[in-house]
């Protein structure tokens, strides 16, 4: 099993979820995150003083999939989250040794 972890633009979350569902992935976990990267934060002004917001709002998605689904998941995310503009985010793939469904205690791919 692998964990596909993606950092995306927040307004793409629903598209990504639908893309993953459409290839048969049934669950994922999302987290609010802040990203720092090539995309430059906007400049705000507050009471006459300027400041730059370095960390931009992102959503982090973690989805654990069977090895066979990894490429499909990565591709689905990459397509759905793509706007072609800087700051679209990254996808990382990590190895998962074990998975357990808390409700039933099932393990391995059936736990997903």
């Amino acid at each position: 099993m692998k964990m596909v972890m993606a950092v995306i633009k927040p307004f793409k979350l629903d598209d990504v979820r639908e893309a993953l569902t459409s290839i048969g992935i049934q669950g994922l976990t999302a987290t609010e995150a802040r990203g720092f990267g090539r995309q430059k934060g906007q400049t705000e002004i507050y009471r006459g003083a300027e400041y730059t917001v370095n960390f931009l709002p992102k959503v982090k998605i973690e989805v654990v999939v069977d090895d066979s689904q990894v490429d499909g998941a990565v591709e689905a995310i990459q397509k759905a989250a793509n706007t072609g503009r800087i700051g679209d985010g990254k996808i990382f793939v990590l190895d998962v040794g074990q998975a357990v469904r808390i409700r039933t205690g099932e393990t391995g791919a059936t736990a997903l």
């Binding site: 927040p10 307004f11 609010e32 802040r34 906007q42 400049t43 705000e44 002004i45 917001v53 960390f55």
Partner: protein, 456 residues
């Protein structure tokens, strides 16, 4: 009923006329009462600006909250300035049964008052020259001024989350300098809705005690026109006709706003008695207070019951709208003498809003805070109710309602189109997605909460 220049209201007229005969409240005392009533009630209405601001700030999403706050304080400011510069004169001077007043600019205190203020001694002659007016002229200006902002606030709520700041304020200029004053002149300025011709033609004068039509429907028509020209918020209506809710970010603030509006409405309706200098006026004002409260209460309870039955849950925002719809409904006739009727009128207002809000969505009219439902639709109902419950003639009410709509709606459409085709009125798509607070203000309402930039 003419609201200021022709008389001190139907009731006021009698008391002032009767005063000398019965040697009761002396004219100077009555003058102080009348003026103080304008000031205190006007002040209470002024606070409604805060109520609208909080109601709207609570019902928009957090990325547009700072902008709606700014719009509200700006529109209240602009409305006041324009009403001084030109609005009051258009509304109240030299209407004479017609369609518009005069364009004398800058409404300043009259000579008689300045003479008294500047005199070494307050001689009886100087005092009489002032008290003959019945009330301090600027106290009346103040009271009438606060009504203008109300009309403008209605518009801001409907069009929130997508309209650009400055074009919106440009509309407010026109609304407060011309549109509202012209409509107001027809009735409260002693114009045609109030003329012998009108009474002869439609069986009675048009009755609108405190402005269900003149203020609330006027604001509502202008908002409706704006909503049509501006279009719905991006993503609000799905391709298959589904409605995607965009929940308000801060409901306690919306609740506070509603309570403030309710509070302010006592000034709105009570002060519209326009006089306090006699037992009659005081008794009438008290009756107005009671009706105002009961109608709002009826609106809340009915809106709650209808949402409970229809949706199996009670919708707080509908209860809040119910209060406002109840208040708007009673505004045309808060002087009715059986309080039970006010509960019915307000209750029907509360029911109306629960049905009107999803109806607007059917027509893809995106009204962020439900202002069209609560102010325009309930305002029409309330104005008709005066005819139904014996305070006027239904036909006369209907004609007045239609006349106001027939003027305000197309003129507003025109102004909106003019703005759209010149400076543009709609924030660009990215600005809308990111929120107007970022594009227009570069500032966040809640930087440390939710997606705020200061959470890290």
């Amino acid at each position: 009923m003419s609201k200021t220049l022709l008389s001190l209201g139907g009731a006021g007229v009698l008391s002032l006329a009767a005063a000398p005969a019965m040697a009761a409240v002396d004219p100077e005392t009555a003058f102080v009462f009348n003026s103080f009533s304008f000031l205190v009630n006007g002040l209470v209405v002024m606070f409604m600006a805060a109520g609208f601001a909080m109601l709207e700030a609570g019902l928009v999403r957090s990325k547009n909250t700072a902008t709606i706050c700014l719009k509200n304080i700006a529109l209240y400011s602009i409305a006041g300035l324009m009403f001084y510069v030109v609005g009051y004169a258009v509304m109240y001077t030299d209407v004479d049964g017609g369609f518009i007043g005069s364009f004398s600019f800058f409404y300043n205190p009259p000579a008689a008052e300045l003479a008294l203020l500047g005199a070494d001694e307050a001689t009886p002659e100087l005092v009489k020259a002032v008290t003959d007016n019945g009330y301090a002229s600027q106290s009346d200006w103040f009271f009438q001024m606060v009504f203008v902002a109300t009309a403008a606030s209605i518009v801001s709520g409907t069009l929130a989350e997508r309209i650009k700041l400055w074009p919106f304020l440009a509309f407010v200029v026109v609304l407060s300098a011309l549109i509202y004053p012209i409509v107001g002149s027809w009735e409260w300025g002693g114009g045609w809705l109030n003329s012998d011709w009108y009474i002869a033609s439609f069986g009675a004068e048009f009755m609108d005690f405190a402005g269900s039509t003149l203020v609330h429907s006027t604001g509502g028509w202008a908002a409706l026109a704006g909503a049509i020209v501006l279009g719905a918020r991006k993503g609000r209506y799905g391709a298959n006709g589904e409605v995607r809710p965009m929940p308000g970010a801060n409901l306690p603030l919306a609740t506070l706003g509603t309570f403030i509006l309710w509070f302010g409405w006592f000034g709105f309706n009570g002060g519209s008695q326009l006089a306090l200098g006699s037992a009659l006026d005081a008794a009438a004002m008290a009756i107005v207070f009671v009706n105002t409260n009961l109608a709002a209460a009826g609106g809340v309870v009915v809106a709650m019951m209808v949402t409970q039955i229809r949706y199996k849950k009670v919708d707080l925002t509908m209860a809040l709208n119910g209060a406002i719809a109840g208040l708007v409904s009673i505004t045309a006739g808060p002087d009715l003498q059986n309080h039970f009727h006010s509960i019915i009128i307000g209750g029907i207002g509360g029911a109306i809003v629960v049905f009107a809000v999803p109806l607007m969505d059917k027509f893809k009219i995106d009204d962020v805070v439900g202002a069209i439902s609560a102010h325009l639709v309930a305002g029409i109902w309330g104005t008709l109710a005066v005819g139904i419950f014996g305070g006027g003639a239904i036909l006369a009410q209907l004609v007045g309602i239609l006349a106001v709509g027939a003027f305000v709606f197309p003129v507003s459409l025109l102004v909106w189109f003019a703005l759209k085709s010149t400076v543009g009125i709609r924030a660009d798509e990215e600005a809308e997605v990111m929120g107007l607070d970022q594009s227009e203000l570069g500032m966040e309402a809640y930087p440390e909460f939710g997606r705020g930039s200061q959470t890290m």
